[in-house]
């Protein structure tokens, strides 16, 4: 396979896994903060929004400290399961997930808050448990906002550079994603490769935004 296609495939895999992770966590925390009443709620919201404003290199540094073999989580994973995330595509996916997370979390929270809590009470009065109410009432009414956020998160994860480079490095065919490959190509003076990669990335991002506009009209304005 040509390096262009393998880079492309790797980027899609990294961005896809990152989006899935950001989706699960974003929906979970979005619901918790929309419906939960507990001390420290505003602080938690602030912490969860931080990746949106912090430089990706700072996030990457935190992840390195946390996940490296000296880090408490990384050391534990290594000892218990033999899992090492640094310099792997899974590590790149994790880094992209952290950066993309607020893009799912924020719209998910807003979408859940827009669901009339009285509808959930009606579900309770009709004999349903909390999980059934979430799946049958809350989620169907909030899913467009969540979907819009998910597509933005995918585009963001696809273009992630700083945190990915810090955590996963730039190993061609293993951790070198599109945006990292573009940087390397320009540095190495491979203008043809850089042009192809830039064009592919741009087209992909346009496609994602068009899709978002089609599937969740009105949510991206």
């Amino acid at each position: 396979m040509s390096p262009l296609w393998s880079t492309f495939g790797l980027s899609l895999r990294v961005a896809g896994c990152a989006t899935l992770l950001a989706l699960l966590l974003g929906v979970g925390f979005g619901y918790l903060l929309a419906r939960g009443r507990f001390p420290g709620r505003d602080l938690l919201d602030t912490l969860l929004t931080l990746p949106m404003v912090m430089p990706p290199t700072v996030l990457g540094y935190y992840l390195l400290v946390l996940l490296g073999q000296q880090g408490w989580l990384g050391g534990w994973l290594d000892q218990q399961f033999g899992i090492r995330l640094i310099f792997t595509w899974q590590g790149a996916a994790l880094a992209a997930a952290v950066v993309a997370f607020p893009l799912v979390f924020k719209p998910a929270r807003a979408a859940f808050e827009a669901v009339d809590a009285q509808l959930e009470q009606a579900g309770r009065m009709l004999g349903l448990g909390e999980l059934a109410i979430f799946l049958r009432v809350t989620l169907p009414l909030a899913w467009r906002g969540i979907l819009a956020g998910m597509l933005l998160a995918f585009a963001r994860a696809l273009g992630e550079f700083g945190a990915t480079l810090m955590v996963a490095g730039s190993i061609p065919g293993r951790t070198q994603t599109l945006s990292v490959a573009i940087y390397e190509a320009v540095q190495a003076g491979q203008d043809g490769l850089a042009n192809a990669l830039v064009l592919a990335t741009s087209l992909l991002c346009v496609a994602v935004l068009l899709l978002a506009g089609r599937l969740a009209p009105g949510y991206l304005r």
């Binding site: 579900g123 309770r124 349903l128």
Partner: protein, 221 residues
């Protein structure tokens, strides 16, 4: 005893606290609670339904104890088997009439099919003359149809009592009178204990076997 309710609840409010003090003992099959808005009628109804937890007291409806702080008993709303009609009906906006009516019959994580033909749903569609709009979403219904859907949805599970929160407030005057007599006939036919709260004395004239007045959070009978 159809209605045996005695509880108190203090709610923190903006500026001032609101104290709810309720005592009802009645064997009437049709009870109407009258009072100006802000008197605490809706909160009282919510406390009976289990959507608001009293500080202390007792709630017995239709001979069944649903809440008893002395015995540490607090049945979850979904286990109370009460029919509840919300003020603006709280119909599920993403489900058609058929799905709304059959919502409580279908357990589990999935909503009823848009073209389900459950026997009970068919019965209530005919009973409330809703067959022509069975496939419509609530947004496309008239006020009277919405109320019938809300009633059918609440009654289909054969609740031990029917609680109605200002059920006619959203209707225009002619329709209001018509729906009053419809509810009147329905209650006579089903012989189910009915508790209605309203600020309209006309509701009490038509539907009140016994009428109680609530003011500033205090209701005593």
């Amino acid at each position: 005893m159809n209605f045996e309710v005695a509880f108190h609840k203090t709610l923190p409010g903006a500026g001032r606290r609101f104290a709810l003090q309720v005592g009802i003992r009645s064997d009437a099959a049709r009870l109407v609670i009258l009072g100006p808005s802000g008197a605490g009628k809706s909160l009282t109804l919510k406390a009976m339904a289990g959507l608001l937890r009293p500080d202390a007291g007792l709630v017995r409806l239709g001979g069944q104890t649903l809440f008893d702080s002395a015995a540490n008993l607090d049945l979850a709303p979904r286990k109370r088997r009460l029919g509840y009609v919300f003020q603006d009906y709280a119909l599920f906006p993403h489900l058609n009439v058929r799905q709304n009516i059959g919502f409580g019959l279908r357990r589990g994580w999935l909503n009823p099919h848009p073209r389900n033909e459950m026997d009970e749903v068919e019965y209530w569609l005919d009973c409330f003359r809703l067959r022509a709009v069975a496939g419509e979403l609530p947004a496309h219904l008239s006020g009277g149809q919405r109320q019938r859907v809300a009633l059918a949805r609440a009654l289909i599970a054969r609740p031990r009592a029917l609680l109605l929160d200002e059920p006619f407030a959203a209707l225009d005057a002619d329709l209001r009178e018509h729906m009053r007599s419809e509810l009147d006939a329905l209650q006579r036919r089903l012989a189910i204990p009915l508790l209605l709260i309203s600020h309209d004395a006309r509701d009490a004239e038509v539907l009140g076997e016994q009428v109680l007045c609530m003011r500033d959070g205090v209701l005593a009978a």
